[in-house]
Amino acid sequence: MSQIIRLKKGFEINLAGEAKKEVVSVQQPETFSVKPTDFPGVQRPKTLVKVGDNIKAGTPVFMGKNYPEVNFAAPVSGEVVEVVRGEKRALLEIRILADSNLEYEENKTFTPSDIGNANSEELKDQLVRSGVWPFLVQRPFAVVADPQEKPRAIFISGFDSSPLAADYGVTLKGQEKYFQAGVEALAKLTDGQVHLSVSGDREVPSVFSQITGIQSHKFTGPHPSGNVGVQIHHIDPLVKDDLVWTIKPFGVVVIGKLLLDGKYDVSKTIAFAGSSVKNPAYLETYSGARVDKFLSGNLHDDHCRVISGNVLTGESIGREGYLGFYDDLITVIPEGDQERFFLTSGWLGLIANRLSFHRAFGLVSFLNGKNKKYKLDTNVNGEERPFVQTGAFEKVVPMDLYPVYLLKAIMAEDFDEMEALGIYEVAEEDLALCEFIDVSKTPVQKILRQGIDLMMES
């Protein structure tokens, strides 16, 4: 175990409605969906199935123009019932009516000891064809990894520090065997090391405790200490013309299952949390699950927002939406679409029940202490303005960079500046706290993604 990296900067958003650490049984949804929009960097997705096709779990359902060989696969077997398109016929979703007994595409199986000796090209080929490949996300740019490349190293964050995040101790319970197999496969993909960072503040999940063949690190400190981008910055920072891959622990497990069992098995345990949920807990389902069955009868009130992912980086999917590919959390919080009178609860009121990173006049949430759990809604609490406040973003980004300067460089479309100011080192999630705390309500993550898109096109 190497030294502990202690991060001071950051901010904990303590929300009400944390999932109780037990898995409850739920009725499985009938339909599942694959959303090309879940995969950053995939351009011009093209469907490979049509309505009425019967497919298996692991059958390719679409391809990206810039990832011709990568298979984006169906999470379950069943019948393709709908292909949803948006503007200019862009492919948005492929919906599948699931069979009651799942059938899987067959893949070659390995024994645990085989993986280390396998031919790395053959192994890679299997990962690319089977559907597990998109779990690998490259940095810079946080897009799906390109199988043609070879990364300098692979990084795994062993904890999620974001608000109401799922605990890997619950979601990955009993997956040690698969995780180990996945790690061994990853080691074949890089000449460098596979890094795993665990939290020094909380219990290390059993799934990580006996793993061999990895370089292990410990991080302490507030969110975003669990972000893989932040961890890379402190372990071995990215430089120009550099390439590393990242993968979430669940992705490693799916790779392990593929190799040991020969199946593309994306059954997962997810957290169902948020202040609008009556009984927040963990539940078992599959990637791309429709969420309405989980919600029904389990919400405090109907006027709420359903988010796939966490409240800082997630996406509002609506009550009949589908779980995102990378997400292991559904958060439900109240909508905030009401006006607030300025003296009572608006911009001049005394506010103790809405969290603030700041202490400007009337913002007294800091008096509540760190353990108070907040019930926050989706109101922006103000209007968008030019940058005025300085020095605040730096307090929540535990990296050696100047977020405001970077954002301004993106707005000015100044490529040299973007590069010099560190755009290669950040993804949306790393600056998500800036978006939360910003006085000027700047859409930080959107601007950053625009910058990343510009850099990728250049």
């Binding site: 006006e339 608006g346 700041h358 006049f361 809604d377 922006v380 406040q389 300085t390």
Partner: protein
């Protein structure tokens, strides 16, 4: 508040696209969002929740921090008036008399600047921003109580247009807007904002031996040039007892611009800004240090009586305290990086005293020092950020 919302909802269509008053939408929006924080929710992708703060609240925190200075300034304007006439007066009389002089200046500043803001918002079709909440209050506090109201209006309009709007409005300006207004008035109409006649709103009668000079004016007059006398002696020789004592200058019962005389009230404001974190402690501390360092250097050389004035007097004289708390800390025109803030603040204080003591033309140096450092702030930041870029580049080439 439902009835108010209903009224707003009923009127809203007139201001929306295609409505009768479509052009005035920014003005409409400004008042609605003033009374109600709007119902805008977060977009589908990205941060789904947001901090309780907004720019209105942040700006208003600064206004609150200035209220002690304003109230004291009102009282002191009346106090100086009755003192110059040699009359006894109750505190209430002083406040009433001061208010009659000061409130119109505040109103004119807000109305003139507000009109410019609204005009530009309508012309450029952007929302009315709240930056002027602060500027509109700063301007009255840095002018003398006797200033003609039309000059307040002209100065404010000049500053808002030339220092702010042509750069793109709030957040884009290089120079502090309130200081630009003051500098403009200072150079355009020097007789109404300098000398010894303007700082006290006297009546018909004045006491024998009356002089309305500021402490700095006296120091510059007697402490430099020919026939020097020690500044402290010159200050002791005032028309009212203890008028320029260290204690009076600290409390603020001295002639001067409306809101800047009291170091004590500035400290109260500083406490508000520091507790809320709205004002940068780095800038305040480093400007204080810069002033003290320059003061000590001047004391060390001591080639004239002004230079011999103990350095701590400078901290309570003139606009040093006010500039330190409210002007130098303006986040838009100050340095934006933490290291830059140290450098910027230090030189604000350093140059303030340098200009004050060694420049014969301007008895007050704080305004010009801060404006000068406003210009240098982007350059300071450039080098700080450049160092960050170089660290990144170095990693790449190792």
């Amino acid at each position: 508040m439902k009835f108010l919302q209903d009224i707003f909802d009923k009127m809203e269509p007139n201001f929306e696209k295609g409505g009768k008053f479509e052009k005035f939408y920014p003005l409409w929006e400004a008042q609605r969002t003033f009374i109600f924080t709007p119902k805008i929710t977060t977009p589908a992708k990205g941060a789904q929740i947001r901090d309780a703060i907004d720019l209105k609240r942040m700006m208003f925190t600064v206004v609150i921090a200035m209220i002690p200075c304003l109230l004291f300034g009102i009282w002191n304007t009346g106090h100086m008036h009755f003192l110059s006439a040699g009359q006894e007066a109750s505190h209430l009389d002083k406040v009433i008399h001061g208010a009659i002089l000061v409130i119109p200046i505040v109103l004119v500043s807000y109305i003139a600047g507000g009109l410019v803001e609204v005009a530009f918002s309508i012309l450029r079709n952007h929302p009315v921003t709240e930056g002027f909440l602060v500027t509109g209050m700063l301007i009255p506090l840095v002018v003398p109580p006797t200033i003609p109201l039309w000059q307040v209006a002209v100065g404010t309009i000049f500053a808002v247009v030339l220092a702010k709007e042509i750069f793109g409005g709030v957040g884009m300006n290089v120079l502090n807007v309130a200081l630009t207004a003051r500098a403009f008035l200072f150079f355009a109409y020097p007789t109404e904002i300098s000398g010894s006649e303007v700082w006290i709103a006297t009546g018909e009668e004045v006491v024998q031996g009356y002089s309305g000079a500021t402490a700095l004016g006296i120091a510059a007059e007697f402490g430099t040039g020919e026939n020097q006398v020690p500044v402290l002696e010159a200050l002791a020789n005032s028309f009212a007892p203890d008028l320029y004592s260290l204690k009076s200058m600290f409390i603020g019962t001295i002639p001067g611009s409306i809101g800047e005389t009291s170091a004590l009230m500035c400290i109260l404001g500083a406490i508000v800004l520091l507790i809320t974190g709205v004002g940068s402690w780095r800038i305040m501390l480093s400007m204080l240090v810069g002033g003290i360092v320059m003061g000590l250097i001047l004391n060390l050389f001591g080639s004239n009586e002004f230079m011999k004035l103990p350095f701590y007097y400078h901290l309570v004289m003139g606009g040093f305290a006010f500039g330190l708390v409210f002007m130098a800390t303006d986040p838009v025109t100050a340095s934006q990086t933490n290291t830059g803030k140290w450098i910027y603040g230090f030189f604000c204080g350093f140059f303030a005293l340098l200009i004050r003591v060694l420049n014969p033309a301007y008895p007050e140096g704080v305004m010009l020092a801060i404006l000068l450092m406003n210009v240098f702030a982007p350059l300071i930041d450039y080098y700080i950020v450049d160092a960050n870029k170089k660290r990144r580049l170095k990693r790449a080439t190792v």
